[in-house]
Amino acid sequence: MIGQLLIHALFGTAVALTLTAFLAMRREQKGMPLGSPGTGLPIPRMLMTALTLGLIAAVSLLVALIIQHRFDYTYIWNYSSRELPLHLLIATFYSGQEGSFLLWTLLVAVFGTALMSYSRRHLYEAPTLFFFGLILTFLTLLLVAKNPFAYYYESFAAQGITAVDVPPNGKGLNPLLHNGWITIHPPILFTGFAAMSVSFVFAMAGLVRRDYHRWITIALPWTLLATAVLGFGIMLGGFWAYETLGWGGFWGWDPVENSSLIPWLVTVALVHTMMVQKRTHGLVKTNMVLAVTAFIMVLYSTFLTRSGILGDTSVHSFVDPGKFAFWILLLFMLTFATIGAVMILMRRSDMNINKENFKPDSREFLLGIGASLIMASALMVTLGTSWPVIMELLAQPKIALATDFYNKLHIILVPAILVVNALSLIMQWRHTPRALFIRRVRNAALISIPLAALLFIPGTPTAWALVLAAAAFFGLVVNMMMGWTIMRRSPSMAGAYVSHTGIALLMFGIIATASYSEQHHVVLTQGVPVTVDGSTLTYVNSEQVERHFGDREKYKFHIKVERGGSEATISPVMYWSDYNQRQSPFMEPGIRWGVANDLYIAPNSAGTEDIFHATTVQRSGTIATPLDSTTHITLVRFTMPMEEGPAADGRMRMGAILMANDSTEFKIVTQISQAGANMSFEPIWDTIPGTTVGIGLSNIQRNNADPTKSTGEFIFRDVTKPLTTPREQITVDFSIKPWISLVWFGVITMVLGFVFSIVRHTRLAKQQPALSEVQLAPSADIKTVEHKVTDSNPQ
């Protein structure tokens, strides 16, 4: 009950915060000194802190309840279980929809609180608190709709469940999430989402204050932080998919992946256009629009992936949040889109004063082109991700777009972005002398084109791979050349060059894995070497692991891989879990990590070799035996356990009455062991009368609704030959992933570059004068003191 009350109290606090901050903002607009106590600002300040503390209390309470296995709470029953270790129990708190909303809300509140003194210093506090308050109002309203503290008996009251009916155990966490990545990836991703709100809030504050340039310097370090954190979070998701989930790759253009990528792309474009405005005071409206769009895309992506609207068009499962939450999500998005649009339109004439017409031979022009191309990518990914929704609106069948849609568009966009990025670094601000431009391009091209041609040595890649490689080499060479020059002058200015170098390395990783990686479907019989793609694979044995967990049966399959004189044992994993009633196995790939290549084995299925020609027959069905096509059998009926009686060891017995060619009926029997819902059959061999064909009953699939549709699986052998034991067999997808390490190294390098830039721009923001020191709009072309600060950074 405390938890539910707390959630409602948090919603009330968020509403109060919004209202009091709004009143403070109004008082400031009526002439009270900005940020003075007379505006009533101490109240929303206090409410913001109280809201954050309340959210911390709510999270702590939920975690404590999860650790105590309080399955009388629906959320805990749904996502937790007694078998989970502590770190996964804690991760349970954000594994479901309600918990992830709580985490997101907490992180937004933390950013809001952390920014209070920062925004106070820049006299942005009232509008900052107001917009954070409004965001938190919607987020806490979502928590009211999707309350993580709802009781089990409340959720299932319609089924006659009362307060005394407490489940003894929870449903547990999806086994695919049982690894360390769930403790790292979602919090980082949600930190990125929460950080995305900062540039929006500062842009709105800038519009409220008619302060169209200074907000750029104030917001830039936070926008860089959001881009770095979200980019890192996306990369971790890709690494998780590659390393644990066995999807074979790191990116599948799935709606959930795209929903993180879209706001990230918009923010990357925003970072570049902010740089342009900082330097030239141009693109004022563009930056406002992009700051709003980045935040709206976070909300739109959340709406797409959390409203249940995409249905079953993803490899991720989407939970339908219910109509109330659906409408809140929609209203949340529409409200902020409307606020952003109205605010920009209201200030449109102010912002129009300083019209910039960039010269084509200037860096700002090319940065504008680059940002447009990045936005084009974001637009196309949005179109693709929204396609099922568009189809639904048109009452047409909805399916997720094939990955070729995204790949084909990005074959054009990515090389263009890489080349434009490189050219923008070659250019100078305002104007670039023609001779300088030609010299720099020639030098970079002379190195990058031969390097791209080297890709022909390991094999002939596709034309698009060559174009992309040439563009990536061009980008890499330019960034390293220019970066080296800058680094010698001031290492703190190297951020952009390091980031862009990371992007080029990432592209090389993508090109190498996409062009030179081949997947081979291999059936491995125990002890029998199979040579594929220059590697010899031998399935050694299987080993049951994690035996102490009663809810799963988990096996490691040890496969020896010999390649080029070296030898490694790779152990993919398959397991059956109570989570899905052991209906189908969960799988994890085995990887031999390397700098130049990874050896990747994804399991498909495991069993024994089919030396007994297993064949399924429906009741009343007739088949020719696999060993002798002239011998037929007809499955007459099954005999039940009560008819057969138990085996000597107590096991259940069932049988099948069969008819041979000569209409002779005979019976074969099988012994059944039962473990939970699983049944294992041990056939007792018999011989088909008048033949040398041995037959056994290896499985029975009963159809209780229609017994005539029950089926039996029969196995056959030649009784004149000795009985052999079938060997274990595993079917795997084996691939060599060349230079995939560059994907991870590239993203880490890119994030490192962001860190350099964050440090530098935080320092610059500290030098930013207070609002009272600068002339305010309506003249949007004010020259702030910041602009006068000597900034020799050519970024």
Partner: protein, 116 residues
């Protein structure tokens, strides 16, 4: 000039994007037998691609709808999608979207149903 570039980009890219989306976002229209063979070529554990089967309902049982596809072959449909705006009644023509699960009994698992 930047504005011109953006306009040209939009004019070129949006129609191209829609054209490609139509190419890669329209499920193939198949018969039940073709849907079965599509599932058979899918790796075990993987989800077979979604396809459309236009069928005529022959009879409706509690968990299964029996239909005739355009080759007049009867096949069972397990429908688990939202309640459509029409009833599954004999002689009704329905456009089912779904797939046959690989490695199981031959049954079309539909998650969407439309009037053709």
């Amino acid at each position: 000039m930047l504005r011109t570039f953006i306009i040209v980009l939009i004019v070129v890219l949006v129609p191209l994007g829609i054209y490609l989306a139509v190419q890669y976002g329209t499920p193939a229209e198949l018969t039940f037998a073709e849907a079965v063979s599509k599932a058979a070529t899918t790796a075990e554990g993987d989800m077979a691609p979604k396809v459309v089967v236009i069928a005529t309902v022959t009879r409706v049982e509690p968990d299964t709808i029996f239909c005739l596809d355009k080759e007049q072959k009867e096949f069972p449909v397990s429908y688990t999608g939202a309640i459509p705006g029409f009833a599954f009644e004999p002689n009704t023509s329905v456009k089912f979207v779904g797939h046959v699960h690989a490695g199981t009994v031959q049954l079309f698992h539909a998650t969407q149903a439309y009037k053709p």
